[in-house]
């Protein structure tokens, strides 16, 4: 029987999606269902001084007093109210909920309610904020000595802005009340996060709360934590009305109110030897967390750990802080801190190359981490560390060196970036999660029971491949249960590029166990003879992994994936529009369980990274997104799509299923700095993104009206 791992087997959910049969949350209705809407703050910071609601009886209205448990959305810190009681800390903060049987009755509902505010002075500048959600310090070696050894010091400041996940399906849930129970269906990535939030908010025992993920139209991190808030809202209305309540955000509300990527300011001070060796790295990382903590501590964590890039350096100091501002809270988005800090280090490296007059490829070859080197947290890398192989492959495929010379002095440029991405939760995170996976024998094979969600990346398919091969039975004999907390164990969230490497490994262990138990019998034979049985496995850290949260040192991740991007682009001298001509993306991911789906992650993440670099701008005015319409938040169309050349390398990670590491997030870490470095090659000294045509123009002498190129 041919193995399925490494093959492009037919996606488990493909046929339902292409026929319109797949059910997303807005496709579902329940008898007696009401529709819910949210009334939100229109000011960034205030005390609520007056509330006046006089709606007819057929409206259900709920406020913070209708919350049976604690008025916060449980995540990390208990600081984010589910419904504001008296203090407003950001525009679009939820205050009241309204439900009605006719969704048209909810149109302009905010105009029928009076809320008055005593306004307070908001702060939008993370550097002026007096409230830090988290501070993290990383120290390695002796920074003073590192700078003493240096022949040259290069400094730089780099900035990234908000980015919107822009899943094409907006956030939505349906809450269905029971007797002392609640079930919430929704478009979400982490059923057990939602479960935990509901248990605390609704003050219900865990077994009386059920969360079911419906087919989800994209997440990218944007549905990691936000659905908990929405689920709580719908649950409050469902409890009060005694009826199912559907809440679907329209695009404007989703853009205005839900989480975005953390903006960042990163400052580098780097000591170099004349020959290009980095002797010291001093890095400051500031993230804008928005009004509440949400996941800022963890975004900062990943950000600072990746802040020194895929480079070896004996003397490193990294200081990171996530600050509170009076803007809608920021949250998870693919990459989770690493795109921000790796943008900075990679843009910085090309400036270093410029100042040292060293070729950017050579600079990276000199400093790239090799097997046996230690990272900024002192982690010794194994032989699967692939910075040099990905660099060399990308340089070769893109003809970087030849084009670097050929394009010099023209309005075309070519730039590269080298990056890495740790898979799984940082440090002791996976141990704390204590994830579980289960495998149930069926009459025809086996059924996977995990809380990992399919959000487009191929979870169901990839897990089924792993189990099929570990059991030695056909891929088609494997079923995947819906991600329903009533049936599946807590496998942890579908984030952090852990779904294959961590949860897939748990399933592999389940399958091995099951295979042993089956002995010489096929699943059908065993099932007929003995009936079903279920194997459950819990996360076990790889032997020898050591991490300290106190010193922020040790083995930050079980394994890293490695990537290199090369972007060749053209700048129109008349309009300053940037057109990517070709993008090369090389990724070393341990093992491509499903090569086509792995390429899909690389191509998709690369496109998002190009958007991050060039066109995706959240225009904030007075703490509010001013361009909250799809026509004004610019992601690439088919006509903008950059041609991509993808290469996959495999250097197996011994503790990953079939050697697999993670692949979902890394592809978004590299494109932005590669674009910026290509722009530098064209003569534009870009230090912040997005590098819109307006900003490129401002970098040139705007008073010149003839064709401009530097």
């Amino acid at each position: 029987m041919a193995p399925s791992v490494g093959k492009n087997v037919r996606r488990k959910d493909g046929d339902a999606k292409v026929t319109g049969a797949a059910k997303y949350i807005d496709d579902l209705t329940f008898p007696g269902m009401l529709y819910g809407a949210t009334i939100r703050s229109t000011v960034p910071r205030a005390r609520i001084s007056k509330r006046e609601v006089s709606l007819p009886e057929d409206f259900i209205v709920a406020d913070h007093l209708d919350i049976p448990g604690a008025n916060y959305v449980a995540l990390i810190e208990p600081d984010q109210p589910c419904l504001a009681s008296d203090q407003i800390r950001h525009v679009a903060e939820p205050i009241l909920l309204v439900a009605h049987a006719d969704k048209h009755a909810l149109i302009d509902i905010d105009k029928r309610v009076t809320i008055e505010y005593d306004r307070q002075e908001p702060n939008y500048d993370p550097e002026k904020s007096d409230r830090s959600f988290k501070n993290i310090n990383i120290d390695k070696g002796d920074l003073k000595r590192g700078f003493k050894d240096a022949d040259l010091i290069v400094e730089g400041e780099y900035r990234t802005a908000h980015q919107e996940q822009l899943y094409i399906e907006t956030n939505g849930v349906i809450a269905v009340p029971g007797y002392g129970a609640i079930t919430v269906y929704g478009s979400l990535q982490c059923p057990y996060y939602v479960h935990k939030a509901l248990v605390e908010l609704m003050d219900l025992p865990p077994e009386r709360v059920r969360v079911v993920q419906t087919e989800t139209g994209g997440g990218f991190g944007g549905k990691e934590e936000y659905p908990s808030m929405l689920a709580c809202h719908a649950a409050i209305l469902a409890r009060k009305s005694g009826k199912p309540v559907k809440m679907i955000y329209d695009r404007v509300e989703d853009l205005l109110a839900t989480t975005k990527r953390h903006p960042s300011i990163v400052r580098h001070r780097t000591g170099l030897k004349k020959d290009g060796r980095v002797t010291a790295m001093d890095v400051e990382v500031i993230l804008d967390g928005g009004a509440y903590a949400t996941l800022s501590a963890v975004v900062l964590s990943r950000g600072v750990i990746h802040a020194s890039g895929p480079y070896r350096c004996d003397h490193v100091r990294i200081r990171g802080r996530a600050m509170m501002t009076h803007t809608p809270p920021n949250g998870a988005f693919r990459g989770f801190g690493a795109p921000q800090t790796q943008f900075a280090i990679e843009a910085h490296m090309d400036r270093i190359a410029e100042q040292l007059k060293i070729d950017p490829v050579k600079l990276r070859e000199i400093n790239a981490l090799r097997p046996g080197d230690t990272t900024a947290t002192g982690q010794k890398l194994g032989k699967d560390a692939s910075a040099l192989p990905v660099l060399r492959e990308a340089v070769k495929r893109s003809q970087f060196n030849k084009k670097r010379k050929k394009l010099a002095g023209t309005n075309r440029g070519i730039g590269l970036s080298l990056f890495f991405h740790g898979s799984g939760f940082t440090g002791g995170g996976e141990v704390k999660l204590a994830s579980k996976a289960s495998l149930e024998l069926t009459g025809r094979g086996a059924r996977i029971l995990v809380a990992s969600t399919e959000i487009g990346q191929g979870t169901r398919t990839m897990h089924a491949q792993i189990v099929a091969d570990a059991l030695g039975i056909p891929y088609d004999a494997i079923d995947v249960h819906e991600a329903d907390t009533a049936f599946v164990p807590d496998s942890g969230p579908t984030v952090a590029s852990r779904t294959c490497m961590i949860v897939g490994k748990l399933l592999e262990r389940c399958a091995s166990d099951m295979k042993r138990q089956l002995g010489k019998l096929t699943p059908a034979q065993y099932f007929k003879k003995h009936g079903a049985f279920t194997v459950t496995k819990q996360y076990e850290p790889p032997p020898g992994l050591q991490w300290s949260d106190e010193t922020y040192a040790g083995d930050a991740y079980g394994s890293y994936a490695w990537g290199c991007n090369v972007v060749e682009l053209e700048v129109d001298p008349i309009t300053f529009e940037v057109t990517p001509i070709n993008v090369t993306a090389v990724a070393e991911i341990g093992k491509a369980i499903h090569p086509m789906m792995a390429i899909g992650q690389i191509e998709g993440g690369t496109a998002q990274g190009i958007g991050y670099a060039l066109t995706e701008e959240v225009v904030m005015k007075d703490g509010r997104m001013a361009n909250a319409q799809l026509t004004n938040y610019i992601i690439p169309t088919a006509l903008d799509a950059a041609p991509m050349d993808v290469g996959i390398l495999e250097s197996p990670y011994e503790h990953g299923p079939f050697g697999a590491k993670g692949v979902g997030e890394m592809p978004i870490d590299g494109p932005a700095p590669a674009v910026i470095n290509a722009l530098r090659h064209c003569g534009f000294d870009v230090r912040s993104i997005p590098a819109t045509p307006e900003r490129l123009l401002a970098l040139t002498d705007s008073r010149k009206t003839k064709v401009v190129r530097r």
Partner: protein, 273 residues
Amino acid sequence: MPANISALSLERPRSLKAALATLADDPKLTPIAGCTDIYVAMQFGTLAEQRFIDLWDLKELRGISVTGDVLRIGALNTYTEIINSKIVRKQVPMLVAASREVGGAQIQNRGTLGGNIANASPAGDTLPVLAAADARIVLSSHSGSRTVPFDAFYTGYRKSVRNSDELITAIEIPRINGLQWWRKVGTRRAQAISKIMIAAVRGKQVRIAFGSVAPTVILAKRTADVLAGGGSIAEAQAALLKEISPIDDVRSTGEYRATVATNLLAQFWNETK
């Protein structure tokens, strides 16, 4: 979620004659055609009107033909029909170019030339073309028809000389003598509202029009005069900066628009030598 539909009313006349009679009785009705603007306004809650008259099925408002020196396009012809029309491709290729860059296929299949004119957005994609082409707008009412030169059609931001009992029924474009040039700068290659747009004709006469740089489309007469009179590009650019008044908005900046306008002017003049 769209506006409260139940509050809206829709008249559906079966002929142009019936439509004009209805409008004569009830000039407050708002005409709708392809709906690509109206329904977006409904979605965002910015639609003030509630009473509509549907033109979509009126065959009399469609048709592309040439009579002598004049090309006539029906008000209800869609961008797709314009793009596919051999006549328009031959005679007014800059209108085809502009139509190709409206939204995407779905919008082009529904949006109409008359609708673009009536919507009167400062960023209307066909408007600089019609200005540069010296087009004429045919207006009809129950009591007859009149033709208005495009340059005289708009009187201010989203204001025109069209009376509320009149419909735009056709657009006439006289034969264009000279090279046609057009360029739109958007936020991306499709589905983009323009940041700035130029349509220009260089022949015995020079006509240059810009979109998205003022409350209405601007026919840059003094700029064209400089070039037609043998002036330098730099002099023309200086004149242009006095004829346009671009603003900052969520899509772009006044400075960018002004600079790129002057760059586009130079590109036009250099490429049409």
